[in-house]
Symmetry: C2
Subunit: 273 residues, 2 copies
Amino acid sequence: MKDKSAPIGVFDSGLGGLTVAREIMRQMPNEKIVYFGDTARVPYGNKSKETVTRFSRQIMRFLQTQEVKAIVVACNTASAYALEEMESETELPMIGVVKPGAVVAAEATANGKIGVIGTEGTIRSGIYSRYIKELNPEAEVVGRACPLFVPLVEEGLWQDPVTDEIAKRYLSELIDIGIDTLILGCTHYPLIRSTVGSIMGQEVTLVNPAYETAKELKELLKGQGLLNDAKTRLGDNCYRFFVSDAAEKFKGFANSIIKYGILSAKVINIEEY
Amino acid sequence: MKDKSAPIGVFDSGLGGLTVAREIMRQMPNEKIVYFGDTARVPYGNKSKETVTRFSRQIMRFLQTQEVKAIVVACNTASAYALEEMESETELPMIGVVKPGAVVAAEATANGKIGVIGTEGTIRSGIYSRYIKELNPEAEVVGRACPLFVPLVEEGLWQDPVTDEIAKRYLSELIDIGIDTLILGCTHYPLIRSTVGSIMGQEVTLVNPAYETAKELKELLKGQGLLNDAKTRLGDNCYRFFVSDAAEKFKGFANSIIKYGILSAKVINIEEY
């Protein structure tokens, strides 16, 4: 028996996935959300496939205890490394952030040259390239790992000469190649969208997988009869936040991303799942 | 029965503790070392006391399975948050990096103004100030968290205009206060010692706890009759390295710090300890 009123489970290595949760809140205001941020083991971006998959599996098991109706892997690295394995281990509908971004980029490009920026793990996996070439075998996909972007964002330097300088270094090769489409392949990057956008120039389309993921999630839920069409007002506990470390710090940062108010965040020991 | 020929256990959240291991190798060439770097859960610097203590305990249990004769907590954050609790849970001699650095800084200062740079956790704990004031109650100790230094070091930007710019921001307050002694309170920081030194100026003494820790460890082992005075040449397996993730990547970085050659690094699942 499918329960439309059950929450959607969303997880990330830490805070970045809140940009995806925010999009789900915007596009599906009737949906409840259970968010988990693995703040004890963040970041995932420079860790191995084996480790990221083990961590992701623990989180999937935790979210199942919360009786979610679907799971959103709101982390590019976990989507790249762990999504396919996890999908084969559950009946729940599951969606990552990579495929929706890849689909839109493959449609958006005019000259067939697409850039992807992300963590070392996401870029090394080559997953964006793989998905894009399934749709557009002629496309040229160039990836660039940007390991300093996450710490710069978490330090609050969203608009800062240092972030500009680092971004110029990371993006120069993509500019030289002449890409016309750039995927923001890490959930932190929408927060420095204006810096990236001004370096790349107006002719380059920036693709934000957070937006595309929420859109595809809505279609997925609708298709499976799981979209919550109740008109009742969502109560204060419609959004629940769990972390593996330091709930107070999470709340501070989260409130700068999500305007709906993070009422509380609970710490759990994810290693027990 | 004390075994002088047993190895010394050294651990860190990741790679930084290798600067301490390197000092032990230099100052005590007869000693074997078992090093553990928690690369699956690195960094510790922005995580809570509870989490860092739980992780440190797991590592202590792992090192005990390696029959070490002493444990060096080669991570400032773990020394600040977890050392005292761990000491009460084992018979093994245990030493952190904080106290040796604090002792030297308290002796080195002429004007009584001491600066400490480190991770958020180390600075928030106030532990350097506490140790220094036990020795010199009149001292003024000013801490400054430098969260971007670790990612900049790990990105290889040891000498770079961006690192200069960030360092100037972090250090300006300490310059204004007129400190004459600065503790490099994170095991990564010796790697950007020249950047920090040129900003602070020659009048400011930089204290490297790695060096002081190795020195105090030698005294500690000698005092307990545990110093290895055998004259036999150390074999290839005198240094053993364990990590919780991505051994190949660890080896690459480790070889840039330690010139003795990292022959192999083995991945273990630290959550099982």
